[in-house]
């Protein structure tokens, strides 16, 4: 169908974005003061050892030359070798990507599961007690720093009640799910706040809209009016909000991953930044960027699927 034609053309627009990101990360990581070689060698570093490492990773060459290699590698589907881990960055990322994807997905699902009923409750009782309660409670959700919230949840559910594992990532699927409950709840508590605000506003708008009035005038009970007409019409802005926030969300998982000891890319990234593992920072940033672009693309597809008016 022609409405979906953008599915074919859009990926072309990714290219400049990805290219821009590659340049920026490349420059950015190298602008950070600090030397990967010195980091690797620690306190006992001698100048000759440092020089050797720098030569080994090509860090002693000119910037443009390094960038050239980087792009050349990229064209071959490679991202270089980690200085810290001494293996291919892509391979390294492959071992670390699953928990992050799982965390982001489960957080989004959980947020939606929290946000939709809460927003519905608030919107259908707008201006009344449930609305105020939802709004106040959800505002609190966003105010707590995630690392603090995470620890509190951990102390409550894992230590005091002994219901869930404290931290880590399981091995079997079920085990992984159990391990993901608290981390994704931590993320969801703040993410859902954002969603609730947007959904609630959209729903209130839609409840007042002519579409709803028309449905009521046809004698449709409030339930049908709400779920068949109001909800579909208020989803689009929320989906886009979610997509725009995906970068922020992935950023937020960094902290949550380290609080809950999830072996994901966020932790990898933080360690790489602090140890100036350039290739890894570049690689992870590229992967994150691609993921963000992809999510936005998916959001567009979903938007087009939900709202036939939208043309892209």
């Amino acid at each position: 169908m022609h409405r979906y034609r953008f599915v074919l053309t859009r990926p072309l627009q990714f290219l400049p974005v990805i290219f821009g990101i590659s340049v920026i990360t490349f420059i950015l990581v190298r602008l950070i003061p600090g030397d990967p070689a010195r980091n690797l060698l620690g306190a006992r570093a001698t100048p000759s050892a440092i020089a050797k490492i720098r030569a080994q990773y090509g860090l002693d060459e000119a910037m443009w030359q390094q960038y050239f290699y980087f792009v050349k590698n990229l064209a071959n589907g490679e991202m270089g070798k980690s200085i810290l881990y001494k293996i291919d960055v892509l391979k390294l990322i492959a071992t670390r990507i699953e928990p992050t994807i799982a965390l982001v997905l489960s957080s989004v699902v959980l947020s939606v599961l929290i946000a939709v009923p809460m927003a519905a409750l608030a919107a259908r009782n707008s201006g009344k007690a449930p609305d105020h309660v939802v709004r106040i409670v959800s505002t609190f959700g966003i105010g707590f720093p995630p690392f603090w919230l995470g620890l509190m949840l951990m102390i409550l559910f894992s230590v005091k009640l002994d219901l869930l594992p404290v931290s880590g990532y399981g091995e079997t699927f079920g085990d992984k799910l159990v391990h993901l409950v608290l981390p994704s709840l931590t993320v969801a508590l703040s993410l859902s706040t954002v969603l609730i605000r947007s959904l609630r506003a959209a729903m209130i708008e839609a409840l007042k809209s002519d579409v709803a009035t028309a449905a009521r005038a046809r004698g449709m009970p409030e339930r049908i009016v709400f779920w068949r007409h109001v909800v579909p019409n208020s989803l689009v802005p929320t989906i886009n909000l979610l997509a725009v926030n995906i970068g922020w969300l992935i950023g937020g998982t960094v902290v949550v991953e380290s609080v809950f000891a999830l072996p994901g890319m966020g932790q990898l990234l933080v360690r790489a930044i602090f140890s100036r593992d350039y290739m890894v920072v570049q690689g992870v940033a590229m992967v994150f960027a691609c993921a963000t672009v992809l999510v936005n693309f998916l959001a567009d597809v979903v938007t087009v699927a939900i709202d036939p008016r939208v043309k892209l």
Binding site: N39, T46, Y85, K86, S158, Y169, V259, A261
Partner: protein, 478 residues
């Protein structure tokens, strides 16, 4: 019996011992690989490892090791050839981070399958100690040569108490008992899991909730609380860690000895020990940690006297001294010391500007000399004081550990002590070094602190030796 789960901050980075200088890796290396010569659990003397015995030629240049009858985990015998291969590899391999430390080795050859002969370029008192470093562990030549990269991922043959069963990157390293280990009957555990739990609180909670058997790096602030928990044992093990205040001798007034002495006197080390380490540490008086080889216990210690410090500064013409203090961001202890030192120095009329920078960057700044003072710490990897002394006082390429301290007397003493093979004479030289350095205030010794680890009550013999090694072959899980 049982599998011991240990929580630590970070996951391993590699299994190729020559390619890492990280503590996280060394801990696992020493579980998985065996060295020729070991440091004992008190951290004070060397004992036989894979080398059953050794002799040193009179000129101190030739070491002959008798290799014990032992097997790698894959069943192949451990030979002198493997040992020679490992030693030369760490010296020559382009990816080795340790080449400089083994440049002294002239040749290493297998005279026969059980005899390793190592020739040095010059005599070296600390040489044997350096063989105890986990990075120079004996690797299977065959296994390494079959594929270095694969070996670094998952070693197929190990000489130590455990073999690597699985490595879930970022999460955990899973070790299994090595039935072919030469002391296999000593090993009680079926396996070990080193699990990465970066957040200190989470790690402690894991042990408290019983989901981990042990956790390393207990923050000072948590010791009291954990001690009260009837299910837990807090292990306070002697370490070689020493925290000190680096002083940039090249910056203005800091070049004057009296100024540095005044600074030393302006610091209330006891208060720091109380606040930062919650009384767990002890005030330091020498750069060689207490309990280590050649530590001079009677070394002078500057008394805390802010008034006198103030007067001395005035005398030296440095009444309104302003210092730029580099603080390592993200290091809680560092930040706490900084906050406290700032207030203490203020009492002696010294203004301190804190400059918080990310740790990697602070290295750069220290090396470049862009600082006045900064707190750092050091833990020994080897028994012999030579390594640290060379770095700190030996006037080698790193400007005496970035302090730019300059003393010909000390420089010569350090060089001589390295060659001196008579322990008694050597000790006297080290006492001299410690005294002189203290008098010059090459830096300010702050405090010594132990290793703090915690385990569940049912774990026995879980400890860390002063060089940081975990002897898990002794550990029992009930």
């Amino acid at each position: 019996a049982g599998i011991l789960t240990i929580g630590r901050r970070e996951d391993s980075t590699t299994f190729d011992p020559i390619k890492s200088a990280q503590n996280v890796d060394n801990w696992v290396f020493s579980n998985v690989f065996e060295v020729l010569v070991r440091v004992d659990k008190t951290g004070t003397k060397l004992e036989p490892g894979l080398a059953e015995s050794w002799t040193v030629s009179d000129d101190g240049l030739t070491y002959t090791f008798k290799i014990r009858d032992a097997k790698f985990s894959d069943g192949s015998p451990i030979t002198a050839e493997d040992a020679a291969f490992s030693l030369l590899r760490i010296r020559d391999h382009e990816g080795s981070l340790w080449s400089d430390s083994y440049k002294i080795v002239e040749t290493a050859e297998a005279a026969d399958p059980k005899t390793l002969v190592v020739k040095l370029k010059t005599p070296s008192a600390p040489f044997l100690s350096t063989l105890a470093l986990p990075n120079v562990s004996v690797l299977s030549k065959k296994a390494v040569e079959a594929g270095e990269d694969a070996f670094a991922e998952l070693p197929t043959a190990s000489s130590g108490a455990f073999t690597v069963k699985e490595w879930r990157r970022g999460d955990r390293v899973i070790l299994e008992k090595n039935p072919n280990f030469w002391q296999a009957d000593r090993v009680k555990l079926d396996g070990v899991e080193w699990i990465s739990v970066p957040d200190d609180n989470t790690r402690m909670l894991n042990v408290q909730a019983g989901q981990l058997d042990a956790a390393i790096f207990v923050p000072f602030s948590r010791v009291e609380e954990l001690k009260k928990d009837p299910n837990l044992t807090v292990h306070i093990d002697t370490s070689t860690r020493e925290d000190h205040l680096l002083i940039n001798h090249e910056h203005g007034m800091l070049a004057k000895k009296e100024v540095r002495q005044a600074l030393d006197m302006a610091i209330d080390k006891k208060a720091i020990v109380d606040t930062v380490t919650f009384g767990i540490g002890t005030v330091a008086n020498s750069y060689i940690p207490k309990g280590s080889l050649y530590h001079h216990d009677a070394n002078y210690q500057y008394p805390y006297d802010p008034e006198k410090a103030k007067a001395m500064l005035a005398g030296a013409g440095a009444s309104d001294l302003t210092l730029n203090y580099i603080v390592n961001a993200g290091n809680e202890v560092d930040e706490q010391i900084a906050v406290q030192l700032q207030q203490q120095f203020a009492k002696a009329g010294v203004t301190v500007n804190l400059q918080k920078v990310d740790p990697s960057q602070s290295w750069d700044m220290l090396v470049a000399g862009d600082y006045d003072i900064s707190v750092m710490y050091w833990t020994n990897d080897i028994l012999d004081p030579d390594q640290k002394t060379t770095f700190v006082l030996g006037h080698d390429t790193n400007m005496n550990y970035m302090t730019r301290y300059n003393s010909d007397k000390v420089k010569q003493l350090v060089a001589a002590a390295r060659l001196e093979l008579d322990p008694a004479k050597r000790e006297a030289m080290y006492v001299d070094i410690q005294k002189t350095a203290k008098d010059d205030v090459h830096w300010v010794d702050l405090y010594y602190s132990p290793y703090l680890n915690v385990s569940r009550k049912n774990i026995e013999n879980f400890y860390q030796n002063p060089l940081g090694r975990f002897f898990l072959e002794d550990t029992v899980k009930n």
